[in-house]
Amino acid sequence: MKKAKPCSIKEAAQQCGIAPELILRFISFEWISPADAVSQDLDEEDLARARLISELQHEFGVNDESVSIILNLLDQLHRTRLQLKMTQSRP
């Protein structure tokens, strides 16, 4: 997968088609933690996550508390998939 360069919150908002305030809100809820903690620049991973959250909220009507739970479970799911992959690739 190609890696895009990290971009500012403003650019990120534009790319995701959502308001910058919304991204700041996602960050304050710790749903997103910017790739660069100093400049708060967001990378591809952050962008995709922001897009997913926005989709969950605006298309599927998921509320704030449920977003926390969904993200938590998703993080666990991805981590578990990763562990499974590593276990399987071990000789």
Partner: protein, 303 residues
């Protein structure tokens, strides 16, 4: 041939816009690729759904579709989706790695440990999660050490002491700066993972810093003193007579700091001829021709 959108959405051709919207929402929730990572069937189904909804989701598009007009671009638009979140995680993303769960803890235990914002935040005394943050530092700061301030997502500021000699991938630990505990548990720790930015002039090799410095062929032949950039600023370097491209000179104590002693800077020399059109060239060529009549040397011969 495109699938019939009404069939894909499972509604009748006379369904209301609201019925279509609800049908789409319900199916999309079920088949969303990020909620079914790695499931190709769900992904394909979601694509069909998106396309179907795009064609009959609004009254305007729907009447076009019902009249038999087709929009070729619609399908293309549906294909040109952004990177999906699960795609960023399949080979291990930051979020999957930084997930603060204990490897052996079971799923619900981790869920209960979530930052306390969820409805389950009150389950007894539990330690807070560890949080992982990323920070990129300049090459010079990584070599010599520095102090920087970062702002955590919570708004809290953290003074980060970058130790001299830090390398990409190093994690700095901040005790009790992670997620809050529930009840009487201990708060989690914050970790800051360092990424060192590359430098266009310097390259780190262990404790040493390598750089390339051009010299004229006269300096290479006769030796001399040349200015060389180090991470601490410019220094004068003595070049012995008779060096070549690839000759290495050592500048003591200008390498990576930290540990017991500082590394060195290794200067790779690169011998450069005068540029094309340089006014010195004609005379130089003339002199070389004269010299070549009397002497020769073959650098390809075995020594």
């Amino acid at each position: 041939m495109l699938k019939d959108p009404y069939q894909v959405l499972g509604v009748s051709k006379t369904a209301t816009q609201d019925e279509i919207k609800n049908a789409y929402r319900n199916l999309a929730k079920k088949h969303h690729p990020d909620l079914n990572p790695g499931n190709k069937t769900a992904e394909a189904k979601f694509k069909d759904l998106s396309l179907a909804y795009e064609r009959v989701g609004t009254a305007e598009e729907r009447s076009k579709f019902d009249r038999g007009e087709t929009d070729e671009q619609q399908q293309q638009r549906a294909q040109q989706a952004h990177t999906r979140y699960h795609e960023t995680q399949q080979d291990g993303g930051r979020y999957s790695y930084s997930y603060g769960g204990d490897e052996n803890a079971d799923l619900f235990e981790n869920l209960f440990r979530s930052s306390g914002r969820g409805p389950f935040g009150r389950a007894g005394d539990r330690p807070g999660e560890d949080h992982l943050y990323q920070m990129s530092v300049d090459f010079k700061d990584a070599v010599l050490g520095a102090e920087r301030e970062i702002t955590l997502p919570s708004g809290k500021r953290l003074q980060v002491k970058i130790p001299p000699g830090v390398e990409t991938g190093s994690k700095l630990r901040f005790k009790s700066q992670g997620g809050p505990a529930t009840g009487k548990g201990a708060p989690g720790d914050a970790y800051v993972e360092i990424t060192v930015r590359t430098h266009d002039q310097f390259k780190r090799v262990g404790k040493d810093i390598e750089s390339e410095v051009p010299v004229s062929f006269i300096e290479a032949l006769l030796g001399g003193e040349i200015p060389v950039q180090t991470i601490d600023g410019s220094v004068m370097l003595k070049v012995p007579p008779g060096v070549n491209s690839g000759s290495k000179l050592r500048v003591k104590g200008k390498g990576v700091a930290g540990g017991e002693s500082r590394g060195d800077q290794i200067v790779n020399l690169k011998v450069m001829m005068p540029k094309k059109g340089d006014p010195s060239l004609p005379g130089l060529e003339e002199a070389a021709r004269e010299w070549g009549k009397k002497y020769s040397y073959n650098p390809r011969e075995a020594p």
